[in-house]
Amino acid sequence: MTQLALVIDLNVCVGCHACVTSCKEWNTSGQAGPLSDFDPYGADPTGTFFNRVQTFEVGEFPNTETVHFPKSCLHCEEPPCVPVCPTGASYKRAEDGIVLVDYDKCIGCKYCSWACPYGAREIDEKQKVMKKCTLCVDRIYDTALAERDRKPACVLACPTSARLFGDVHDPESEVSVAIREGGGYPLMPEWGTQPANHYLPRRKTKLRIHEDELVRADNPLKVDGKLPKPAKAEPSLDDVTSW
């Protein structure tokens, strides 16, 4: 069975928000209607987003590290938001594992957002329905697009390729290999939601230099004393003896 998902490499993400803006651009222009914004150029703007990049500081000065953390729906394999929906508007597709909301059935009761521990769902205050990441379901199957463009908008926009997209149930897919070999982990595993999206950890590239590598015992450049002068009778080889 297919389970489409994103794998987000926190080691590579630079926090540029390109995924946020490209997500908003694609999904606010679609058939399902805009992702409403209110007071976008005013003092107190607010709006609906599928994807946000947050920033965390890990550690204490001076040993701190900045972690940019893109957060969107994780398309859980056991989505807690789906069974609580009273209308069936919130559902998980059997064929590709994407968790979607049917905007025509949603009554806007917000119960699914209470049931999501990740805060992945946001209500559209204008359309009054719950919205969330669709993994660009209107893009990834669009045969009018070139094969290389059939990916979520955020994945295509990422300038550092921090976002990978694919089937996490296919052990040979790019995302499965990345999770397996890059130590991919799910968020809040304690709730048993089994998120399909995974995150790749920060990795430190360390160069380990030993003392004897700094001062080489056999350094040909070190200043040596002159070799002793061989006797005239000794056989001479120009390369190994000196006068």
């Binding site: 703007p45 607010t46 946000r52 990049v53 500081e57 890990v58 609580v84 119960y111 946001e122 995150y199």
Partner: protein, 325 residues
Amino acid sequence: MHPAFSVIFLTTLIGVGQGLFLALFTVESYSAFGLLPPQDSRFYALGSALALGFLVAGLIASFFHLGHPERAWRSAAKWRTSWLSREVIVLPAFMGTVLLYGAAHFTGFNPALATLPSGAAVNVTAILGVAGTALAFALFVCTGMIYACLRFLQEWHTPLTVINYTLFGGASGFLLASGLASIMAPDMTRFYAGWTLILVLLALVGRAASLLRNARLKPKSSMRTAIGVKHPRIVQKAQGAMGGSFNTREFFHGQSAALLRQVKWVFLILVFPLPVGLLAGGVAMESPALLLAAFVVQYLGLLMERWFFFAQANHPQNLYYQAVS
């Protein structure tokens, strides 16, 4: 969580309606077995109308919670998995039963359908009453489980949630029944007052237990599991938006911790000792005004109790929304 007034009114109002209906049928079943003198059917009819009024008011309040109230009929679809859907089915069923129960008493259409071996007659109202009682308890379970089934809202994820919804509904309904009885059936006032006292005390035990439990809760999620970085000190520097979002509005009560504590003590006083005092005074002085005042005071307290119930619940998504920038 952000306490939504629509839900606060829904849960408290239907609780009163359920409790009042249970109170009415308690007396009817007692009198069917000759344990209490039979009451005038007008008492049951008016009581049912009052209960129905509370249920309708709660239902109306619930519509203010919906973004699309015109699609509310759809919410009966997923009763196999959703407690909210189950509540949506059980609430109208219970309202219909209360309506029929009241109508049977009002019209006097109450033929005996069977006779028990003890000689007690099984009337139409007895059948409707038993059905209504079952539905009232089913509705308490549905309403409570809507909150108790959300496992990561740890403050709610306990059987005490369902128990307390039931006890608060019962206590407020029986208290209203005491007031109603003092006007329409004075000889029932002491019976109802006694049960009210028992239910209020049980509710006190249940709520105190949940307050103690919640004070000792350890959150399962932390910043470490939220972003998967194993470090004891993780501080948010930006949440991805400067102007707030649904996530910053829906999951915070927006009040200070001091106010939360004050609300807790005020509701503890308004729900438990004050109505009990007024109830005792009302029974001793045979004053319907005092008994109704006791109900009003307790209902105000229940509104605050429900506000506190929502405000106290700490959603794990708040870990992602701790600092704007």
